[in-house]
Amino acid sequence: MKRKNYYILCFVFLVGIIISQNNLPSSPKVWKHVILINGTAHIGNGQIIESSYVAFLDGKIEMVSESKGIRLNPAAYDTVIDITGKHIYPALISTNNILGLQEAEMIRPTSDFNEVGFINPHVRSLIAYNTDSKILPTVKTNGVLYTQCTPRSGLISGSSSIMATEGWNWEDAVLKADDGIHVNFPKSIQKNGWWGETAPSTKNNKYDEEILVLNKFFEDAKAYCNSPAGSLESNLRFEAMRGIFSGSQNLYLHADYVKDIILSVNFAKKYEVKKPVLVGGKDSWKTTKLLKDNSIPVMLCRINDLPDYAEDDVDILFRIPALLQNDSVLFCLQLAGDMEAMQTRNLPFLAGETSAYGLTKEQALQSVTLNAAKILGIDSKLGSIELGKIASLVISDGDLLDIKTNNVILAFISGKPIKLINDQQLLYEKYKTKYGVK
């Protein structure tokens, strides 16, 4: 006999965050067939359903519809949750991030994203992803449920993987292993300086050498990958490149300065890279035609950054998303930069900001959901609330993309509700009790 659960979520605003698995039945069975009713569904593809039914079975979405005109049969579900007045979103996806690879910027032993050497395509971030990172829970609680765990450093930093922000271990958390390889395209202009301080930019004296090294590697790798397997002495670095030439993996080209972007596009064409992606692209809006003509999507640099030049429009970075959207360049948001792991929790607000500068709110949402999924090549599984996709969903009290209303009260990864509690909340509770305040 099926146990039936019927919840009406009427969480008090402040207490909402305290919802944890403990408040809900723990038997895995009851999450087999779930329906969320009457919430405003933000599909992730631009559509909104004001009052919706969203149902999933065995972790896969099996129904998305208007609630009007459909007779609900509660008996068909083991769990029915009424989310009237709440908003439901697809899980937010963070891209190009060291989240899970670092705990604190200034404590070196906690960093696992900078391998030594220039050409490291064989290095994999996957196995260093720390599912027990103290930062992960603070990110989940704002609706970011997936992250592209990305290595840095060198000319070729290695391969990234797409990870859930919750899991027993990295094997459990991985959604897509080794989704692509990251190339830090040589910078013709070297930006100097350190945390918060931009020193004068200078010409990159090693530029020619770096271009040479990169080209040589790609030529050699291509020749290697074109040879029958086993015909040549095994080379870890070349082996790692097979997916790039076959098209099973993305090639992430990191470039910001407009000329570097143009050259990186030429580079991808030269080596017949099947799935190139521009990462950063601070100047991408200056060369949208090239990107569009070559179907190269952009994982856009952190828009909460200062313009490069005093002459630039003061809000130019906030407006890049709208400029790319208008010119039909596929893009998603990311926030690589200072304190990026910790800042990942602000990804929804970064998206919200774009709608003050030209995007619609649904387009803004798309820039951290479906667009990201498309670029990462996981849009058959994630990115929107559509039939057949994984039921990774976020339910917020109010508008998820605005700071003052973002209040995640319930979230699912692959149909399983996740624990929405972090140490910071516990400290808050502890000291509230100490001072006797509410």
Binding site: E197, F349, L427
Partner: protein, 1018 residues
């Protein structure tokens, strides 16, 4: 005699000059005393910059002028030269030279030494950047090549000094002659020299501009004290020498308009009227420069033309750079127009031979010739009080003069000779004819056009052959011209011709490649003079088409509208043009309790809010600027309690554990683009703080973000005084490799405070006790030395200075409050204070304010327990809490940061907004004027497009003191103007490049951004 001297470009010194006064030197063989009297007749003598004798006689002997007159009896035995209408000018004087000085060894980064150990052994002062004991007259040595370089540019007298250190000792006034050093010195100690750069000093301190200012101020105080207490205290070479310098004119190397003003401020404090060595960008703040009523030495090193052919490369060139390229040559003319006395210097010029050419450029850009000559001769002499010796051609003055063929400022003027201290240097043969002009070449029965132009010493020749115009190599020497040119791909010709002045013709023979000879004649058709005449009218008609000065001189600066100026302080008046503003139908977040007024009007008069009510009848206020705020939200301006924008030369004076003497107010940079960017985010007011490298940092400065104003006008009027303290990993150098500067632990930090405050108490008492003594008693006792560092600490004890303390973990916060309680002072604000929530009750009891980040954490160990609920918790416990930026970018979004306290901790929207408005006003003790939208408050306001706490809100207008400093509509116009102005100048640069002017690649420089942790490397 003179006619024999035909060698061009070889400097010849007459033997006589060398021996004249070397009376103390023994001679080898019989002495050869020569005391020739020279008389130059029929010359146009420019006696000084304003007196000309059209046809006069100059008589001089032994390096001194005997007479300059229209008529004079030529003394017996004089060597007479008829100058036939040639011009004589006094030699130019350069007050800012390092001619003959030894090379300065640059300090190597990383080799800096530990504080307080002066590498100079001996009874010197503590800081090696104070080199007041340097005597340039002891250091200088003759340098033939450099002397020649100067003289060729017309410079015959230099004030030479060693360009090293903040105090540089004295300079020596020299004749730039080829003599024994003994004869060249005009005045041994002619001026004292000062600057803001520490030069070769290997000591860490000072490591910033603010530190340099403090060190110089302290040195003035120390020297005063030393003088007044002579023999009662230590002996100190440096201070002794410093005091001796004070009787001399003081020259300050500031090198930039704002540094000029910084130097002037120091001068005012100590009653010193500096002669300011400027940067050539004074025109950008000409009113401020004029208001200093000081004298200036200005360079003529104009920026090189930039290569802007590639539009992407051109983006790296700032509008300010472009405009400066265009306007720099007009600097001198602007100085003249504004009655600012100045002289020129060849310093900063890489190629000193460009000196005169660039002065001519100043003239082309509007400087009058009279002022130019004055700036080269009389002014420099007068500035240092030697106008009776040099700078004019009068009896008894040095025989330092230049002979030219015509007006020295004419484009094609030839400098024949430059006499310095009565010794001759030849630059062009005075008897050699000016052979420049256009010619007809008759050779091999054919006829070709030839043009000879350029410098007499280096003629550029061109010949029009049948096929094309080609180069004609042309050398004219000893009346014979040697020429060659390529006739076609096979044949070339070499020619040699004698010049016949009468017919202005060269006649001679030529030889073809195959050895065949031919006869030729080169016949002048028009002379150089007539060429120049043809050219000149065109030039005069060419009105200088240069842009206007922007305030500030940056992108998003504005030019003063045509009909508003130029008045004294015209910009200030224009910027404050709104007498009244009426904002209609706004949703007003008053910050008065929870009150939000819907559809209310706000009436502002002369910067103050005078009325808030619904439906104020606009027709009564016809003159007021009206703003329709329907659907918009009006709040108090955002106040950033913790900012490092708008600062110049470093925010951390990091060499000392206590740097209380440095003041951020000394280094406000009103041209930082981040001021404008933050206005676009609704920020009206910010506290500019010293960094966090020391337990006791520097004094902070509260400013209003009045973009366009100068530094002083930006400062908050009668701002409460603050000082930065810091705790934690930064001050103990915890994230570096570790060093031996005390403290290296939190334990040490406590002791730094205890020590400093106890010393400050004693210092205060000593000062008070001494003041009580009678005049008689004071005679025998050394007065306590004024110490700027302890002054600042004493002010804290007196309650006149507030502390803002950078802090993270609870243990140290607790510690500082204990130290404060026991030594009876108060910590006004804990800033960052990420673990404030753990000691909120203690902070409340102490009466401290909190100013925190909204959600930062996980960047170092001491922030691992930082929680975004911090601000809400502190607020709930009753601590006055603010949210700050410490970040130039985030400063633009402080409204969003405030909103995080709604999400994390559930503050109400009005409570949240106060975190960035009223609460920082309270913490900064300026809430009597700002922080609320109420009648009687100052109109520092922001009009938002949406609920100000929403991520969807944008600041539409930002108002400070009742004037609009940011307006989204105006912003669009400014963007358009930037594009237009850049494009205009770029097309000029392209034209320059096409003309063949040398262009350089842009460097893509970006300004520094500062945070707490920034350390400026010099």
């Amino acid at each position: 005699m003179m006619s024999k001297l035909t060698r061009i470009f070889i400097v010849l010194t007459l033997a006589g000059g060398n021996i004249i006064s070397q009376t103390t030197f023994p001679t080898n063989g019989a002495p050869n005393p020569i005391h020739t009297i020279y008389a130059f007749t029929n010359a146009v003598i420019h006696v000084d910059y304003e007196t000309t004798i059209p046809n006069g006689i100059l008589v001089f002997q032994d390096g001194k002028i005997i007479s300059t007159a229209e008529k004079a009896t030529i003394p017996v035995g004089a060597t007479v030269s008829d100058l036939k209408g040639k011009h004589i000018y006094p030699s130019f004087i350069d007050l800012y030279s390092d001619y003959g000085m030894p090379e300065i060894k640059k300090s190597v980064p990383g080799q800096t030494i530990v504080l307080n150990e002066n590498p100079n052994k001996g009874a010197y002062g503590w800081n090696p950047a104070i080199k007041s004991d340097v005597d340039a007259y002891k250091l200088f040595t003759f340098n033939k090549d450099k002397a020649d370089e100067l003289r060729k540019s017309g410079i015959g007298v230099v004030l030479s000094s060693q360009k090293d250190g903040i105090v540089r000792g004295n300079g020596v006034l020299l004749n730039v002659s080829n003599q024994k050093e003994n004869e060249m010195v005009i005045k041994d100690k002619a001026a004292g020299f000062y600057s803001f750069t520490k030069g070769s000093s290997t000591m860490d301190y000072p490591g910033s501009l603010t530190g340099a200012v403090a060190l110089l101020r302290q040195t003035y105080y120390d020297a005063q004290w030393y003088k007044e207490n002579a023999a009662k205290t230590e002996y100190n070479i440096t201070l002794d020498a410093f005091n001796n310098l004070q009787s001399l004119p003081s020259v300050f190397e500031a090198n930039d308009k704002f540094n000029d003003l910084r130097a002037v401020k120091i001068g005012k404090e100590f009653g010193v009227k500096y002669i300011i060595k400027g940067g050539g960008n004074e025109y950008q703040r000409i009113n401020d420069i004029q208001n200093t009523f000081l004298k200036y030495i200005i360079p003529v090193n104009f920026p090189e033309a930039l290569d802007v052919e590639d539009p992407f490369d051109a983006e790296q060139v700032s509008l300010a750079e472009l405009k400066h390229w265009e306007m720099a040559p007009a600097n001198a003319a602007e100085m003249e127009k504004n009655y600012i006395p100045f002289c020129f210097t060849s310093a900063d010029l890489k190629d000193k031979s460009q000196f005169l050419a660039n002065v001519k450029k100043c003239i082309a850009y509007g400087l009058t010739e009279k002022t130019a000559l004055k700036a080269l001769t009389f002014n420099p002499a007068n500035f240092i009080g030697v106008q009776d010796k040099v700078g004019a051609l009068r009896s008894g003055m040095y025989a330092n003069f230049i002979i030219t063929d015509k007006n020295i400022f004419a484009d094609d003027a030839i400098m024949y000779q430059h006499w310095v201290n009565g010794t001759l240097n030849i630059y062009s043969d005075i008897n050699s004819p000016d052979i420049r002009g256009t010619y007809k070449l008759l050779a091999d029965e054919k006829n070709y056009k030839v043009k000879l132009s350029g410098d007499l010493a280096k003629i550029n020749g061109f010949i029009n052959l049948d096929s094309a115009k080609t180069n004609l190599n042309f050398v004219f020497k000893n009346n014979i011209a040697t020429m060659s040119f390529a006739f076609d791909s096979l044949r070339s010709a070499r020619l040699s011709g004698n010049y016949i002045d009468k017919t202005k013709t060269f006649e001679g023979k030529g030889q073809w490649t195959n050895g065949d000879w031919f006869d030729f004649k080169l016949i002048q058709e028009s002379s150089a003079d007539s060429l120049a005449k043809n050219k000149n009218p065109e030039k005069k008609n060419n009105k200088l088409n240069i842009g206007k000065v922007y305030f500030p001189f940056s992108a998003y600066g504005e030019a003063l509208p045509e009909d508003e100026g130029p008045f004294i302080n015209g910009w200030l008046k224009w910027k404050n043009r709104y007498k009244a503003i009426l904002i209609k139908n706004a949703t007003i977040w008053t910050n008065n309790g929870d009150s939000i007024l819907l559809d209310h009007d706000v009436y502002i008069v002369e910067g103050k809010i005078v009325r808030i009510a619904p439906n104020i009848d606009a027709s009564f206020f016809a003159f007021a600027k009206k703003i329709d705020a329907k659907g918009k939200h009006l709040t108090a301006g955002i106040i950033d309690e913790h900012s490092h924008i708008a600062l110049a030369g470093g925010v951390n004076e990091w060499g000392q554990a206590n740097s209380a003497e440095v003041r951020m107010g000394d280094v406000v940079n009103p041209e930082d683009i981040n001021i404008y960017r933050q206005l676009s985010g609704g920020v009206t007011c910010a506290q500019l703080l010293h960094g966090s490298s020391n337990p006791i940092g520097g004094q902070s400065q509260i400013i209003k973000l009045k973009w366009g104003m100068n530094a002083e006008d930006m400062k908050y009027e009668k701002a409460p005084e603050f000082i930065k303290f810091a705790l934690g990993e930064n001050v103990k150098h915890g994230n570096g490799p570790g060093d031996n500067r005390f403290p290296q632990t939190r334990m040490g930090v406590e002791q730094v405070y205890i020590d400093v405050f106890i010393r400050a108490k004693n210092y205060k008492k000593q000062m008070e006790d001494f003041a009580k003594l009678s005049t008689k008693q004071k005679i025998n006792i050394a007065a306590p030395r004024r110490d700027l560092e302890l002054d600042a600490i004493a002010e804290i004890l007196d309650g006149k200075r507030y502390i803002t303390c950078h802090s993270y973990v609870q243990s140290e916060i607790n510690m500082l409050m204990h130290v404060a309680d026991s030594l009876k002072f108060k910590v006004n604000t804990f800033t960052h204070i990420l673990e404030g929530y753990k000691v909120a009750d203690k902070m409340k009891a102490h009466g401290a304010n909190a100013s925190t980040f909204a959600d930062w954490w996980a960047y170092k160990l001491e922030v691992m327990e930082a929680i975004p609920y911090n601000s809400a918790l502190l607020n709930k416990v009753g601590v006055n809490t603010c949210v700050n930026s410490d970040d130039a970018e985030m400063g633009r979004r402080l409204n969003q940061e405030a909103a995080k306290s709604i999400k994390y901790g559930g503050l109400t929207e009005t409570e949240a907004l106060k975190l960035v408005t009223l609460n920082p006003a309270k913490a900064l003790h300026i809430d009597d004027k700002v922080g609320k939208v109420m009648v009687g408050k100052v109109a520092d306001l922001v009009l938002w497009t949406d609920n100000p706490l929403s991520v969807y809100a944008k600041a539409d207008k930002t108002i400070i003191d009742g004037q609009i400093y940011f307006d989204r509509e105006e912003d669009a116009k400014l963007r358009y103007n930037i594009k237009k102005e850049k494009a205009r100048i770029i097309s000029k640069l392209i034209a320059e490049k096409n003309k063949g002017t040398k262009v350089v690649k842009p460097s893509g420089k970006k300004p520094h951004l500062y945070t707490c942790e920034t350390i400026e490397e010099n």
